[in-house]
Symmetry: C2
Subunit: 238 residues, 2 copies
């Protein structure tokens, strides 16, 4: 399918501005969520309780943005009756912000677990694999948001292709934690907390992948959900 | 806000039919997903590997419906340019099916864990609390889908109000599992599998709650996400 994206090319200047504004709101929400994830990881590795609390507070701003963006999209749908790529933009935004909001929720879980580990005088600092997974997920989210801003289908596809690496890292951590728990049952509680954190990070990876699928839908006009990497490659080939 | 829902009351008979058709597709998808959850739970409690495999296969049908419904909604948005409650119907469907699809994913996780437990000659049958949680979540999902079919805001509100009971049951299971693991470290692996199942059920509860929020949005025209139960009660009071 040919690229029919023509953001900012409407006869109505006001309509161009409205689309630009709502895209900016999504990017603002993305920035906030990315910040939450970064703080969640930092709180976890540094056993920083203050930072953990801050993430929970920031979640209100993220939630408020979700509602504001949905309202704005609904208004644009009602007043502008967009078609073709403008309509895809609206639908993709409505889907994207649901995933962004849930990434925020997962970051809050990181923060809460960080606070609990800190209560027990523990941090996840020693746990190299969790730090690696966290950094990887963080970087992927950052790339995805940049791809969203730039309507960069190629990077979106790369991220989808590499999601399985995050899953493998998660499986690896799960195995290590089971061994740890079996070796020292007194560590079960903390190991479980670290396991919840790993799960939260893996889910952030999933939501990031979803966002990349919406980027492909927007830019290429193709719904690539539930497709294999090979199928996606064929669908989006120009 | 007054109820402005007027499904099936358009001058265009064809438009009425289109809205009815897409609502029927959503209910079909809901029925499939409900079946998946029921099978997942059964597979888990009976250590039934065949049933577990079936859930994974059924997921293709659920995923295909998600894509079909999104396409249909996008077409209706483009051709009919719906306003007011018709537009809310479209937006609420686009959101609802994302949650339905993820409920299906969680049911698949139940199935996969059931198969692994069965590999090890175990089932979750003895675990009364998990069965209770499963039955509770199942029943709630069934009620939510009926509320969706009947546009029943009252039941949707009841479900949102009672979501915390599911969270409490989940917390209770987590505590029991930690004790079990500490008492007998050989049980760690299976206890973790049961813990993933409990988490999947809890998430199905969350998605069900989300669907109920969309019912309130559709019927009452109010976005009640991230609101307290008291705030929701005030918002939807006639």
């Amino acid at each position: 399918m040919e690229n029919d994206l023509h953001l900012g090319q409407h006869i109505s200047k006001r309509f161009n501005e409205e689309l630009e504004e709502v895209r900016n709101l999504v990017m603002k929400m993305g920035g906030l969520v990315e910040q939450q994830v970064r703080s969640g990881l930092k709180a976890l590795l540094a056993a920083d309780q203050e930072l953990a609390k801050k993430i929970v507070e920031e979640d209100d701003a993220v939630n408020a943005l979700e509602i504001q963006i949905d309202e704005t999209c609904t208004q644009i749908l009602a007043r502008r009756q967009p078609a073709a790529s403008d309509l895809r933009l609206m639908v993709s935004i409505i889907k994207t912000i649901t995933d962004l909001e849930r990434i925020g929720d997962e970051a809050v879980k990181l923060g809460k677990n960080a606070a609990k580990l800190s209560d027990d005088g523990k941090s996840a600092r020693q746990f190299v694999e969790l730090r690696h997974l966290g950094e990887h997920v963080n970087e992927t989210l950052n790339k995805a948001l940049t791809a969203y801003a730039r309507l960069d289908a190629e990077t979106a596809f790369e991220i989808i292709k590499n999601d399985k690496v995050i899953d493998e890292e998660f499986d690896n951590i799960s195995r290590l934690l089971i061994t740890k728990m079996m070796e020292d049952p007194r560590e079960i509680k903390n190991a479980l907390r670290i396991s919840w954190c790993a799960r939260a990070l893996e889910r952030i990876g999933d939501h990031t992948k979803n966002i990349c699928e919406y980027i492909l839908y927007l830019v290429k006009g193709e719904d690539v959900r539930h497709n294999t990497v090979e199928e996606i490659r064929n669908k989006i080939a120009d």
